[in-house]
Symmetry: C2
């Protein structure tokens, strides 16, 4: 019952904002959710129990079949479509009397897992009293009687990214039906089975099925919410691309005693090359790299200034003494291009340490693009920079002769799946309508973020579904460990998602 | 028979050097070796088949029992001794009429293995037509009729480092007995079962058993021979120590999109810290680091100038366009301290690449000490340097509060097993005698190297057995992939080792 104490307090403070009608309907949805906690949770556990790394098409088909059955029970028609890789689900639920249509995107695949790094099995959804980092303890499911503590977490791959929307949306419809509230819009779904692999066939899927996706507004239901936990709409994403860089030393591993000082060490040359790309204060120093960057607009600056500043709280939670840009807030920092060294592999450390000079050293870079930057342009700028450091570039593993003839030799492996950013207007009529629906719910004013730091393949929808306004509506807690070990969803976020979806479905089609 | 063509040609060119007596006896030993190739090889295979990572005392005891049995057959008395860790073997063979005693050191443990990286199983000795790097193919043992091709390799952990000496020495005694040649010296052995772990209990073993090791000369039979393949004596070794360095980022893995640009990346700070320790041309830039270094003596400079220059050949074989010091030869470069980054671990690359900012990044350094440098002094200099870069040093994993309070925080983990270098005189009477025995054998003049680049715990013998001349007599090929994957011994090196040991045992005790 702890939960209700909190929401009553919140509604007292927010008394003057919501209309009476909305309040009553919102309350009905909350009551449904509260009463059906165990039922909703069982559905979510069932979905999370299915392995969903998109490289296994078989696994993804099992997920797709489960979801198909799940949405058909709520009156959707659907088809599973593919374009040579993992499945997508395209679905529709017509609502009598509705003039408008909302298209909802979510994805049901997850990042690859390294089970050895997880505290609990990634495909055995587990109840935790808190995140593992904060000392979370396992609570056996069968020991929960009555309500779940809303601060507890469900730990599993895709708990936060991105299996919650389909569960929450279907329970929003169940809750509305039970409360006698009719949706005001037709609902279309496109559920992506390969987002974490960069949605390599999405372009083809959109070319093949564009006509089934026409709508008045597209909601992208993915990504984490703001760290303040207030409701949030997001108007853009960064693009993403990845580059693996390999430098070379001796052809075979060499004894670091007999040859140390004499044989070139590829780890040293790789470090020098990487650091030539970043300044001491973390800025990208590759010539021309930021030439295409779209400036921050006045509307975006204003929205940024209204976002609660959580830098101090975040630094405490993450045990960071300072952030990279010191004076630049997290929300503003993601409007700049990112150049993040995500991996470095060159021989072992600790018990794996051996006295060897490595034949090669490799690093992996994740580049985050902002609006108007193109992958092709950045490839050119990075390669220009590398050559300017005196390096000869190869794109395949070099043979011994090539290695002999080039003291500075580097392999650049541009990974598949590069895509640009997307950023839409904060002041379109569709955005204004959506913002007003959310602002009429109990709680704080909706946070408007010009861009997520993360990436979604929204540019493809922008290209395929011309002129359709696309707005991101995240529902997962910020500390969901998305992509990492011990991914989790905070239980309150699941309950809240049901209310938010219900409010939009009820009100978006009304005048 | 290929081999004899080569040695006959060599002896023609060297006609004026060897005495007639030495020639005849040397020839007898060669004939024994040639005739018993399959028998010698079977013994070597048996020894190499026994796993010998010294952390497994049980495995090392199996090796020790085999060796005990093997040397007892040649009239040695022996004991297996321990000081709380892996076994050592101390043995003696008295020779009637001998006044002098030669003490021989070798080790029978090996570096840990990563079988996945090996082309053949590390403890299944395998015959190869060449090194794996040079396209070596497996030859089934039962397909070898007649002589082994002397350029072929035996691939197994410890084939090159360091199980060959015990086999070669026992067959040298067998060959001498068969040829009616009596040793001129008593023989003592100390066989180390934990050298690759830094011989952590050797100091105690020497304290407990010093009286059993008195001798006139100590031969250290370990390490690779010169790249020219000429016979070689070595008068020193570098010391060794290892340091693991860890820098810190966020407490939990962070999504590189949502937090990239904002959250400090420990991989970047680690690279900056490491590169602050090395100049662009590979020199160590840690203040005071080289203050203790013993200068190169005139005798050492002269010896260096007589060593065949194999830099060009080595660079070709290793597919290197240039060496670090460009004008500084390999043999001279190892008379300087080494600071080699042997490992760097911070997230995955290639298929293991994930869009994560790592909570920490770690590197492992192998420091190679030269004569008169002490580990204690270098710890102080490195820590001074790290603090001068603005870092707070911890030696244990820091908690969240410590991480919160220090933007520049580093964990330094000084690994166990640090030891100093050793370098002895090139012009002692014992060295002069030994050099003359080797120079009287067929082949080129003996190469005299002031120091190996690698490390052996000789300083402990220097301290325990005061005034005993200690000289290193390596027998393994330089390209044995010591410590790495696909370690191997070139077959000719095994045959040559038998001749060299026999010559020394025959002649060292004579006037």
């Amino acid at each position: 019952m702890k939960y209700f104490v909190k929401t009553i307090a919140a509604s007292v403070m927010a008394l003057s904002v919501p209309t009476l009608t909305a309040d009553a309907n919102e309350q009905s949805i909350r009551e449904y959710t509260n009463k059906h906690q165990h039922h909703i949770m069982k559905d979510f556990r069932d979905l999370l129990s299915m392995p969903n790394v998109s490289s296994s098409v078989d696994d993804m088909m099992v997920n797709a079949a489960w979801i198909t059955d799940y949405i058909h029970k709520r009156g959707f028609t659907s088809e599973i479509v593919t374009a040579g890789r993992a499945p997508y689900i395209i679905a529709e639920k017509k609502v009598s009397g509705a003039d408008k249509t909302v298209l909802i995107y979510a994805h049901f695949d997850g990042q690859p897992v390294e089970p050895a790094n997880w505290a609990t099995a990634p495909f055995t959804p587990t109840l935790l009293t808190a995140t593992i980092e904060n000392g979370g303890q396992v609570v056996p499911w069968d020991q929960v009687e009555g309500d779940f503590n809303p601060e507890w977490r469900i730990a599993a791959r895709s708990a936060g990214d991105d299996k919650a929307p389909v569960i929450a949306l279907m329970h929003a419809l169940d809750a509305m039906e039970q409360a006698g509230i009719s949706p005001s819009v037709n609902i279309k779904l496109i559920l992506d089975g390969e987002e974490e692999a960069g949605s390599p066939t999405l372009k083809q899927i959109l070319a093949d099925h564009r006509d089934k996706l026409e709508a008045d507004l597209m909601l992208f239901c993915d990504g984490p919410m703001h760290q303040s936990r207030d409701r949030q709409l997001v108007f853009g994403v960064r693009g993403s691309m990845a580059l693996d860089i390999t430098t070379y030393g001796p052809l075979a591993p060499l004894h670091s005693g007999h040859y140390g000082n004499w044989a070139p060490n590829p780890t040293e040359s790789l470090m020098k090359l990487l650091l030539s790309m970043k300044s001491e204060d973390g800025k990208i120093t590759i010539d021309g790299y930021s030439d295409q960057v779209r400036p921050i607009s006045n509307a975006e600056r204003e929205a940024l200034s209204n976002v609660p500043n959580v830098d101090t709280q975040m630094k405490h939670a993450l045990a960071l003494a300072e952030s990279v840009g010191k004076d630049i807030r997290l929300e503003e920092s993601v409007l700049s291009p990112g150049f993040i060294i995500r991996g470095f592999q060159a021989g072992g450390v600790g018990k794996q340490g051996r006295n060897i000079i490595q034949p090669s050293a490799s690093a992996s870079i994740n580049m985050r693009l902002v609006a108007d930057q193109t992958p092709e342009f950045l490839v050119e700028k990075v390669e220009d920079h590398v050559r300017a450091q005196g390096y000869t570039i190869v794109h395949e593993e070099p043979n011994a002769d090539i290695r002999r003839n080039h003291a500075k030799l580097v392999k650049l492996d541009w990974r598949a799946g590069a895509y640009p950013a997307f950023r839409s207007r904060l002041d379109s009529p569709e955005a204004v309508k959506l913002i007003s629906i959310l602002d009429n719910m109990e709680g704080n004013k909706t946070i408007l973020a010009p861009s997520l730091g993360g990436s979604l393949p929204i540019y493809l929808f922008e290209q395929a579904l011309e002129n359709m306004p696309i707005i991101i509506l995240p529902v997962a807690n910020h500390d969901n460990n998305q992509h990492g070990r011990n991914e989790n969803l905070r239980i309150q976020n699941l309950w809240d998602a049901i209310s938010v979806y219900a409010a939009i479905l009820e009100q978006y089609g009304t005048d």
